[in-house]
Symmetry: C2
Subunit: 125 residues, 2 copies
């Protein structure tokens, strides 16, 4: 059997806490729980290499990429994998194994929720 | 002379690198420079206490607050001041001294720029 055959094994271990959690930052002070959840996502994007990898996945053709597609950020492939794992743990990426490669995809609902956090309520009204 | 008299001394040391820096994360892979700039802002919001303070300032009446207004997050006032300084260094807040208090205000252009980063180009088109 060829090891390039597709074997979709949807990886569903996205942390539940990552679901849209919080009102816009300008609406009211965050509770401790809201701040914990949102800070986890911001922290995941608070590293330059991780942010480059995230934007590489997010902007890749079809909205997904494997490690083989996005290793052009000047760090080793194990480091790339480590950062992708962190992004996955923060719920910003999902992953799916196909054959020998794991494909990463941006979780659009999380991206939208983070964008909404940063929307100014004063400019929206 | 009363020490409650207003002494507006606009504090203009917002890092220049914080100006809207980057395309949406989904548009194309970030360059190293773009990632450095944007990661600095995300990192500043990647701490739960800092995020609570930021939302407390952002949602406070008039869009500004002094330390005296927002110390209800379970940490000491020096810690609050430390975190506010970090947010200022990241360009997310500006500050202005009036009498005995320093007032913090969210930098709306930076908030808007961060929101734009997280906008999905695919959903916008």
């Amino acid at each position: 059997m060829s090891n390039t055959q597709a074997l979709p094994l949807l990886d569903a271990d996205v942390p539940e806490a990552v679901a849209p959690c919080c009102p816009p930052l300008t609406e009211r002070p965050f509770t401790a729980d809201e701040a914990e959840t949102a800070a986890r996502m911001f922290k995941a994007l608070g590293d330059p290499v991780r942010l480059r990898l995230f934007s590489a996945v997010a902007s890749h053709e079809g909205g997904e990429a494997c490690v083989c597609d996005i290793s052009d950020v000047g760090v080793s492939q194990p480091t790339v994998s480590h950062h992708l794992k962190k992004l996955k743990e923060a719920g910003l990426l999902t992953s799916e194994r196909r054959g020998t490669w794991v494909y990463y995809r941006v979780e659009p609902s999380v991206l939208a929720a983070m964008g909404k956090l940063l929307t100014s309520t004063s400019s929206a009204s």
